[in-house]
């Protein structure tokens, strides 16, 4: 378990994440990083690592700094202090990012295929058209995500679950080393949420991808993820799902009381 210090709070133990010299299978490592906006730190002195091929849940109450941490990992926000280190030669991995679907404006008249095609833009030079082979690959990703039948439909008119599948296909189209999902099941009915999680689990198993998922759905997280990172009161706590998703821990972090 790795724990980072929050502002003004003492950290408990720090295990593997502090051990920066160890040869390991880390894909991403944060050592003493502070994250936030406009030089204002939301989380300080963060230490943790993500193992290559792991499926990790990033959990915490609303406003705890989960999304800020996620955006820093992805390179969307620069760290306020410290550096995000990537595997061995510090090559930035290829990210597959699934944002919250509500953040995408419905004024854009994109079809599902056009949205999914954006995943390959990282490999296509500016001003160049997308080659047939790449288009076929994107269709394959849509097929894998169970959204190929929607390819001609307008993205903004799809159901929440269908949109999520298209966004997962888009992320897969990038041929990522690291798949990052921001609340993929929020707002979905239980059946749709379950099918999305099943899909993610299949992707994780087949592709040996590293997955990091922000979620509020603790039941789902507990059943499927291997590791958990809690963000709570400016602190980061990382460990195995079975250790950190106990009733006591959840009550402590979220201030819930279960009968």
């Amino acid at each position: 378990m790795a724990v980072a210090r929050g502002s003004g709070t003492l950290a408990p133990v720090l295990l593997h994440a502090k051990d920066t010299n160890a040869t390991d299978d880390s894909l991403v490592r944060l050592d003493g990083v502070a994250v936030g906006y406009d030089r204002h730190a939301v989380l300080r002195d963060i230490h943790f690592r993500l193992r290559r091929g792991s499926f990790t849940g990033l959990l915490g109450a609303n406003g705890s700094g989960k999304t800020t941490l996620l955006k820093t990992l992805l390179g969307i926000l620069p760290p306020v202090a410290g550096r995000v280190k990537y595997e061995g030669d510090n090559r930035v991995p290829t990210f597959g990012y699934v944002p919250q679907r509500e953040s995408l404006d419905s004024i854009f008249l994109f079809t599902s295929l056009e949205v999914a095609l954006m995943g390959v833009y990282g490999r296509v030079k500016p001003g160049r058209t997308i080659e047939a082979a790449e288009r076929e690959w994107v269709r394959e990703c849509l097929r894998k995500a169970g959204a190929v039948e929607t390819e001609r439909q307008r993205f903004s008119e799809l159901s929440g679950g269908q949109k999520q599948r298209v966004l997962i296909a888009r992320a897969l189209a990038a041929k990522p080393d690291f798949l990052v999902l921001d609340e993929p099941t929020t707002g979905l009915d239980p059946a749709a949420a379950q099918s999305i999680i099943d899909l993610l689990q299949a992707i994780h198993r087949e592709g040996k991808l590293t997955l990091l998922m922000v979620s509020h759905d603790l039941l789902t997280v507990r059943r499927y993820v291997q590791e958990v990172i809690w963000v709570h009161q400016g602190k980061i706590e990382q460990g195995r799902a079975e250790d950190l998703l106990t009733r006591r821990k959840i009550e402590e972090v979220l201030g819930l009381e279960w009968s």
Binding site: L74, P99, I107, M118, Y121
Partner: protein
């Protein structure tokens, strides 16, 4: 036919410039609508006309010297471009710093530009003549050189928007995704807003602020009602713009009206007809569906 023949023989350049504005402004306006920056489409032409007024005022005061070979058009283009691109840069910088209301800043730019345009014009001897007409959207005397400059500028803008459509749409639709794909979103923003600034400057210079914001906004809004894909959205916006510019020019000539306001009024009529036509279509389709 006779009217068309007269227009082509007497006002060929004016008609061409109207059609160019009708073609390119809606294409640029599509990006303003997609980025929900409609107010910017209203404010920038006003800022641009303020730039023209300022350039003439500075010229009258001999602060900008008369350069050999320079024309009134190039002086106006310089003022218009400097003010428009400067306003875009200032508004972007303020947005990056955060705080305050975006709409508030754009609204302030609009009213200040409007007020200063008038103040600079009333104290300028040019204001009584060509300059005021230019800002009112009277498209009468257009030289070959003016037409060529407009054509080249709009050609470059159109090429940029079409060639880099993929990148410009990505940074507009999902900025964070673009960042994770290691796209330089600031450079693409610069390209887009540079194209918007150049189009607005040239268009205000040619047809005035009223016509410019009319063509920037109304055709894309109308096209959005009808289009099913992004390509249709762009092509329809431009097609509506060209059609309105052409028909508006003919109506203005036949009824002896100023071209610019006629074009905008016509766009308004077509927009209203499209809106209500679409509503009627939807209602009749709903009635045809069998009740469960």
């Amino acid at each position: 036919m006779e009217t068309l023949r007269e227009i082509f023989s007497l006002f060929r350049n004016s008609l061409c410039i109207s059609l160019l504005v009708g073609l390119v402004c809606p294409l640029v306006g599509v990006f303003l609508v997609l980025r929900r920056l409609i107010f910017l489409g209203v404010a920038l032409p006003q800022v641009s006309s303020c730039g023209i007024a300022a350039a003439f005022a500075l010229h009258t005061l001999h602060i900008i010297p008369h350069l050999e070979g320079s024309t009134e058009h190039s002086l106006a283009f310089m003022g218009s471009s400097v003010f428009t691109l400067g306003a875009i840069a200032a508004l972007s910088a303020l947005e990056r710093r955060g705080g305050g209301l975006v709409d508030g800043r754009i609204g302030t730019a609009y009213v200040l530009a409007g007020a200063w345009s008038i103040l600079l014009l009333v104290k300028n001897p040019h204001g009584e003549h060509g300059l005021l007409e230019r800002l009112k959207g009277e498209i009468i005397a257009v030289s070959n050189a003016d037409l060529a400059l407009t054509g080249i500028t709009f050609g470059v803008v159109t090429a940029v928007l079409l060639v880099f459509r993929k990148e410009l749409l990505l940074v507009s639709f999902d900025r964070e995704m673009a960042l994770t794909l290691r796209k330089n979103v600031r450079v693409w923003d610069l390209v887009l807003f540079g194209a918007i600034g150049l189009t607005v400057s040239m268009s205000v210079l040619s047809v005035g602020p009223l016509v410019t914001f009319g063509f920037l906004l109304i055709p894309p809004l109308m096209a959005h009602l009808l289009a099913k894909t992004m390509w249709q959205f762009m092509l329809l916006a431009s097609a509506i713009g060209v059609a309105a510019a052409f028909i508006g020019f003919i109506l203005a000539y036949r009824w002896d009206l100023p071209v610019g306001p006629t074009d905008v009024a016509l766009l308004g009529v077509i927009y209203g007809a499209t809106f209500f036509g679409k509503k009627l279509c939807r209602r009749s389709l709903a009635l045809k569906r069998p009740a469960h």
